[in-house]
Amino acid sequence: MTADFATVLWKEWKEIVMERSAGSTGSLRPLILIAVFGIFFPLRMGPERFFSAAGLLAPTFFSAIVITAVIADSFAGERERHTLETLLASRLSDRSILFGKIAACMAYGWLISISCILAGAITVNIMNWHGRILIFHDAASWLLLLLGPPLLGGVIATAGVLVSLHATTVRQAQQTFGRRVRGSVDWSDFWKQHAAHGLEGMVRADPPYLVPG
């Protein structure tokens, strides 16, 4: 089971990487996300805001959204490209196929999250360099940093795989999943609470925050 799971994960990861690097518009999406949440926002937010739990919310949430671009392809894409039946005709168990696909999408979202946060940390440090490295300083931030992307990514990946499982085409899976995500998130509230907060931070000039010690 573990070997089969790892095999499916390996294949899915390769497919995601190959598709993202094939020069389609999909390959730009993670780069745009890293540029916005890893450079532009941190630059405007300043160290105090960036190195806090609130500062982690946006990259965590939006990189989880990136998963939606790849998750729709998981089963519906295989069905559309006529590879699913061959996969099912192999010795792989249904469980290892399912969990391998979910894990690959989670890993992709987690990687984007970490890339955004890492790029942000580097950007903030460069712009506010005072001889000491700035890092997250409270437990809530570290908890969110470590658990936020896999948890949120896991929920989105699982929901997306289930939608993809029942869709006949990738487009249908994307539309259905998009509708459900939009339906489950109250965007007006989200913007009021988080994005507006972020904008406020962007226009405010924060003093550099130095980690004690």
């Binding site: 294949k11 497919e15 190959m18 490209r81 006529h82 590879t83 039946e85 005709a89 010795r91 168990s93």
Partner: protein
């Protein structure tokens, strides 16, 4: 006597109102190349899906490699290789990665897998392009790779659904040789569906003909030819008029008379003599230069069976 690789008994499968497979009973001996012939929609692919345990029969049962298809599908799939209706290749991945994935699925040790990938791709003339994404390949190259995939882990039973579709004549002939060698060398059983009667005739030790889910005939190609094809006579010459064809068709011993590539082709009933017909052709103003007689081909048998069942 050795246990057959496949034994189906009254296998039936319906989809809503359509009976895709109707009371199929066959036995495929271990180590044989079995040809499953039939027109589009005859139930060939459904049969493969049932035998792999991918779908359940509505009624009847089947045992593959000694395992019940209804309850032990996973055991069957672990021991068989299958090229289904579509190639099943991941076109974004390279040829090497496609084979590596299915080799890992089959739990092949890495060193053995590396060697096997190299052997297969070299043999198929694809080794130099193994790192390219499959999407860039021609249809024929993809088909070769698709065939290599189920053979990778040297399974005891291989299902091949139209394996030579899309291959050029040379590649198709090479594949036929490979499959014959595989069956002979490894004792593997090959279950092959095809539209290509010449292929079935060359490759298969046993063939079954299916139409609209019903088994019409089963036996060796020679057996089927002698049973249903009749005698085929080809006459080279001139002056084969429509009136002459009509006269020939009225003769009791003649099943079919037609002109093919300038030659007069007569399909005669078993035991019929050619000489009286030659006299008739000459009397009707035809000029006969050469007469060739032989047993009808498997294609003739197939077409006759299809005609009878209409």
């Amino acid at each position: 006597m050795a246990e057959p690789a496949i034994r189906a008994l009254g296998l039936t499968r319906t989809f809503s109102l359509v009976r895709a497979l109707d009371d199929l009973s066959i036995e495929v001996p271990a180590g044989s190349v079995f040809g499953f012939l039939g027109p589009n929609g005859a139930g060939k692919t459904t049969t493969i899906r049932l035998l792999l345990g991918l779908i359940e029969p509505t009624s009847g049962s089947a045992q593959v490699l000694g395992f019940d298809t209804r309850t032990q599908g996973a055991e069957i799939r672990a021991r068989a290789g299958a090229l289904l209706e579509h190639s099943g290749l991941y076109e974004r991945l390279s040829a090497e990665d496609n084979l590596r994935f299915y080799g890992r699925v089959a739990h092949m040790p890495k060193a053995q897998l590396d060697q096997r990938i190299q052997d297969l791709l070299t043999h198929l003339g694809l080794w130099d392009r193994r790192k390219e994404a499959v999407v860039k390949w021609s249809r024929g190259m993809k088909q070769k790779l698709a065939i290599a995939r189920p053979l990778l882990h040297r399974p005891g039973l291989v299902f091949l659904d139209e394996p030579t579709a899309g291959l050029d004549p040379v590649a198709a002939a090479n594949l036929r040789d490979d499959l014959a060698a595989l069956a002979a060398r490894q004792g593997a059983t090959i279950f092959l569906t095809t539209h290509n009667m010449a292929e079935a005739e060359k490759l298969c030790s046993l063939v079954a003909v299916i139409r609209q889910g019903k088994l019409l005939a089963v036996g060796s190609p020679a057996d089927l030819r002698s049973r249903g094809g009749g005698q085929r006579t080809e006459i080279t010459g001139r002056g084969f008029s429509d009136a002459m064809l009509a006269t020939l068709r009225q003769q009791a011993d003649v099943s079919e008379a037609l002109v093919e590539n300038g030659r007069l082709v007569l399909v005669l009933k078993n035991g019929a003599g050619v000489a009286p017909l030659i006299s008739l052709i000459v009397r009707e103003g035809g000029e006969v230069q050469e007469v060739r007689s032989g047993q009808g081909s498997l294609e003739d048998v197939f077409l006759t069976l299809m005609e009878e069942e209409k």
